[in-house]
């Protein structure tokens, strides 16, 4: 830091606290809810909404297990079953996993861990939340009207195309994609900018907590991966609504183009879901082993490498299409290579635990669950990377088992660990330990019973996405076992809900840092006030709280009468200038409504997007039109800006 530290300044605190509270206050009441732009509020909304979608998706999963529990069961007919598994997959991927692991945790935690007072572009952030909700509602309203999407979560053409799925089912699906991807992209911009520009002074790249590295890398992965699914779902929508011919083989269209584009998004998506899980593990392991993590640089490199390689393996979803052998070998090599960075992370966690003093608190229990479950999923992934084995197990229950081990292991177990870890920060109260352990064991046992069984079903020849099977196949017993396991999982989730509501009302008060953890979110009260930090911190090491000097400096000179944040540079987080963030506003909500009308209109009329664009433009101008509520910036410093740097 080249800025001189002025020594020993006397800071009067009380007035500053009042001023900050007034400056950063968020409106209350019914309309106030739609105007709130603070990242803690929006982050919690992302978490709660996506958890509700998780529960809904879980209900669908339970319905499927009920239907498959016996041969030729008649609980769900083929039409309803196809809608149920399509909406289950789409919900879990697009409405739960990404919004929870990336948007929910990211929006809530990133500004706190960076040591700043709000996320960059808070209104874009709020806008992204509303769009996500509308996208989710669109998919589910379709299902409840019995016209739910029914072509699978990746909606392959031509099955999802105009000829084989008439009506509006696939259109609902395709527009849901547009909504959720625009939302993820908006949040990616907010999070990446916050990390690159609003880190506390001293938090150089080399001292950035691993979870920030991961959120930055995932934001980049979102930025490069999500456009692919938006392109492909738009092509599908245009094929269906305005008769383009992208996927019609009789006039030069191509069905594999859809698969290439979809999986160019789809495989990085897996890492967009899984890397946040590893970042939670990398955050929890040092806290509960009471030492700095071993292998900070290898772990960060692994995160970057995984996201990068994730863009080079999409074809391994298409091995059964009959591609040239050369390209099969290349994508096998890439798919095996991507094991290496994950293995590096595992070895580093193992070394950290080995050389630390393990305190097996509740969140850490879930981390051990992650080790066990994800290891199985990752290792069976080695089988799938091998082309000949993949020819056998592709599109069977073996694959269903594999990706549930990877996704539930890689995302859900760390997520529950993370929730038990951070809920005390969010609500200010501790979760019940006994109920938490009960939840863990029910979920862990139920999960393994359900999904390990499915490996055998796949090898025994049961394809995925069948609504029933004949008794002659002898799949009944294993299916009954899997369905029984699902019941145990459901019980576990119910225990979690009981625990959450009970502890929120009567749990022990957490205090600012119940786990004696090291990152900056633990340096503020639980729950954090709207200005996050009373005194803006500086950072002296990778674990800001643990490594702080006895007399760690604080930042002064950021105005507390307007919502101002300190902007630092990307590499070494040197203070550069100060930026006034926009305050509460109804316009992001109004804009999201206008955008939603345009998107949904486009399903029903080819001109919908054109007419619908008009209110979008009006609301956008309303949003962006400058308002003179704050005093003008000081002109004498403006010319010293960094334009020529």
């Amino acid at each position: 830091m080249n800025m001189a530290l002025s020594e020993q300044i006397v800071i009067p605190q009380g007035n500053a606290e009042l001023r900050l509270a007034r400056t950063w206050a968020q409106p209350r009441g019914f309309w106030g809810w739609f105007m709130n732009v603070h990242h803690t509020a929006i982050g919690v909304r992302f978490m709660v909404t996506s958890f509700i979608f998780f529960l809904l998706g879980g209900v669908l999963a339970a319905m499927m297990r009920l239907q498959l529990s016996r041969p030729e069961n008649g609980v769900l007919g083929p039409d309803l079953y196809n809608q149920v598994f399509t909406v289950h997959g789409s919900t879990m991927i697009f409405l739960f996993a990404v919004p929870m692991m990336f948007q929910g945790f990211g929006v809530y935690l990133v500004p706190l861990i960076c040591g700043t007072r709000n996320i960059a572009f808070p209104r874009l952030n709020a806008f992204s939340y509303y769009l996500y909700v509308v996208g989710g509602l669109l998919l589910w309203v379709g299902l409840l009207l019995k016209t739910g999407a029914d072509a699978g979560w990746f909606s392959y053409v031509p099955l999802s195309g105009p000829e084989f799925t008439p009506g509006k089912r696939s259109d609902f699906w395709a527009q849901m994609i547009t909504f959720t991807e625009v939302s993820a992209l908006g949040v990616a911009i907010c999070i990446a900018t916050t990390i690159l520009r609003q880190r506390a002074p001293g938090m150089t790249l080399n001292r950035m907590p691993i979870i920030l590295w991961e959120k930055l890398v995932i934001s980049m992965a979102v930025i490069f991966a999500m456009p692919a699914v938006m392109v492909v779902s738009s092509m599908l929508l245009m094929d269906r609504t305005i008769n383009t011919q992208f996927f019609n083989p009789s006039v030069g269209g191509d069905v594999l183009l859809y698969q290439h584009l979809f999986w160019f998004f789809g495989h990085p998506e897996v890492y967009i879901i899984f890397l946040p899980g590893t970042a939670i593990v990398s955050t929890l392991v040092p806290v509960f082993t009471r030492r700095h993590i071993f292998g900070y640089i290898p772990i960060v490199t692994s995160v970057v490498a995984t996201a990068f390689l994730g863009f080079g393996v999409w074809v391994h979803h298409m091995f059964a299409t009959g591609l040239p052998q050369m390209s099969e070998s290349f994508f096998t090599a890439a798919s095996l290579m991507i094991v290496v960075p994950t293995a590096v992370q595992f070895y580093c966690w193992l070394a950290t635990i080995w050389h630390g003093r393990l305190q097996l608190k509740l969140p850490m229990l879930w981390v051990f669950g992650f080790f066990f479950v994800f290891l199985i999923g990752g290792l069976s992934g080695v089988m799938l990377a091998s082309v000949p084995v993949d020819w056998q197990v592709h599109d069977t229950f073996f694959v269903v088992a594999h990706f549930h081990y990877v996704l539930i292991g890689g995302a859900l177990f760390p997520m529950f660990g993370g929730l038990y870890f951070w809920i005390p920060k969010i609500t200010g109260r501790m979760m019940n330990d006994f109920l938490g352990k009960l939840h863990f064991w029910l979920f862990f046992i139920g999960f393994n019973v359900t999904f390990f069984t499915m490996h055998f079903l796949g090898l025994r020849g049961m394809p995925r996405r069948v609504y029933t099977y004949t008794p002659e196949m002898h799949w009944g017993g294993l299916n009954m076992l899997a369905s029984g396991g699902a019941l145990i999982m459901v019980a576990g989730v119910i225990v979690f809900l009981v625990n959450f509501f009970q502890s929120r009302a009567t749990g022990r008060l957490a205090g600012p840092n119940p786990w004696a953890a090291g990152s900056l979110e633990w340096a503020v009260p639980s729950p954090p006030p709207h200005y996050n930090f009373l005194e803006l911190p500086t950072v002296n090491g990778r674990e800001a709280v643990w490594d702080a000097l006895p007399n760690q400096p604080i930042v002064t000179g950021v105005r507390d009468d307007i919502p101002e944040v300190l902007v630092t540079n990307s590499l070494d987080s040197e203070p550069q200038h100060k930026d006034e963030l926009p305050g509460p506003s109804i316009w992001p909500f109004l804009t999201s409504i206008a955008v939603s009308i345009a998107f949904i209109w486009s399903i029903f009329s080819s001109w919908g997007i054109a007419y619908g664009a008009i209110p979008v433009v009006i609301t956008l101008i309303g949003w962006l039109w400058p308002r003179g509520h704050s005093p003008a910036p000081r002109l004498e410093t403006r010319m010293e800006g960094t334009w020529t740097r």
Binding site: R70, R291, F294, L336, A351, V382
Partner: protein, 340 residues
């Protein structure tokens, strides 16, 4: 609905349990060289990852047991440069071993892939499989049109001879998969591809559609019947013949029912006026063991149920219900059963 068979004792419970892991429709019970090669690779990788799993889990268990403390309060942070130094060595060696193992897997995988895909034969049988929602059209192409066999859902091949399967699709994407014979191959509209199969033991080997293809994806089965050369030749000769004219008066009436009702709109019976290719070719329907893409046995009762209300058995399939008079229905079934 089928209840679970009653369990009379431990023995039958064990038998029932084991039945879940065996059977002909199984990737790990290969019946030919392709499936055997893949099975070999499967077990090699299985044992590699099994060892890796045991090592890792033991490592985590030992690490957890080593310095675990039961303290309720969070302990102070320790500094441990010596631990870091030792871990650097351990982690580096583990990474090196991982990379080498993965290279071994890659090598074996590529070799096995070449073995499964690359075969040569001077006199292979060629079979064209076309996927339809929700049945399989099976053709044995020949340069002469009258030497081409067309059938559905039942594929006859001679034992021990290499067979080339050519794939295509009439509508959406399907995937051809007989687990004990070979891995699966997608049938893509607009594309055709080829792969080898071979079966070394006579028998019936079930297969299914593996790519989700709509409402009746679950009921899109086929079977491969491997038989010795003579039986196969006989079958071939029989299939080449057009349908014989029924001698029996009831069957003759049935033929008329076929020609005057909706049947003729979609189905072919060679040797008659019925020539539509929408549905399966029925010229030798009586010789098949199952109907409706391996959904029902080929019996009078099943045929009757299928013809009257196919939507009850396979909801959403493309065959409409046929409200036939009982006499007409009986005659039609008698006729269909004569189509040997």
């Amino acid at each position: 609905m089928n209840p679970i068979p009653p369990i009379s004792g431990l023995g039958s419970a064990v038998a029932l349990f084991l039945a879940q892991f065996t059977g002909e429709h199984n990737s790990l019970h290969p019946a030919g060289p392709q499936a055997s090669d893949i099975e070999w690779l499967y077990w090699v990788i299985f044992w590699i990852i099994f060892v890796a799993f045991i090592l890792m889990i033991t490592g985590f268990a030992r690490a957890a047991a080593r310095n675990r403390t039961q303290a309720a309060e969070m302990l102070p942070i320790m500094s441990d440069p010596e631990g870091d130094r030792r871990a650097t060595w351990a982690v580096s060696s583990a990474v090196a071993i991982t990379v080498l193992t993965l290279f071994a897997v890659l090598f074996m995988s590529v070799i096995t892939g070449k073995k499964v895909e690359g075969r040569t034969s001077t006199n292979p049988i060629t079979i064209q499989i076309t996927g339809h929602q929700w049945w399989w059209e099976v053709q044995y192409p020949s340069p002469q049109a009258d030497q081409t066999i067309t059938t559905a859902n039942e594929i006859h091949i001679p034992v021990g001879r290499p067979v080339v399967i050519l794939t295509s699709s009439a509508d959406v994407i399907h995937s051809f998969w007989a687990p004990s014979v070979n891995g699966k191959r997608d049938l893509l509209p607009g594309y055709s591809s080829a792969f080898w199969i071979q079966i070394d033991k006579p028998g019936t080997y079930p297969g299914r559609c593996a790519e989700f293809c709509g409402l009746q994806h679950a009921h899109m089965g086929f079977s491969i019947i491997a038989e010795d050369d003579n039986t196969f030749k006989q079958w071939e000769q029989q299939q080449l013949k057009p349908a014989a004219d029924p001698a029996d008066p009831e069957a003759a009436h049935g033929k008329q029912v076929f020609a005057t009702h909706a049947c003729i709109m979609c189905h072919t019976i060679r040797g008659t006026d019925a020539g539509s290719r929408m549905g399966p070719d029925l010229t030798h329907l009586g010789s098949r063991q199952m109907i409706a893409a391996e959904t029902l046995p080929n019996t009078r009762g099943a045929l009757a149920g299928w013809i009257i209300d196919p939507q009850r058995i396979k909801p959403g399939n493309h065959m409409a219900p046929n409200l036939l008079e009982p006499d007409d229905l009986q005659a039609l079934i008698t006729y269909l059963q004569t189509l040997q």
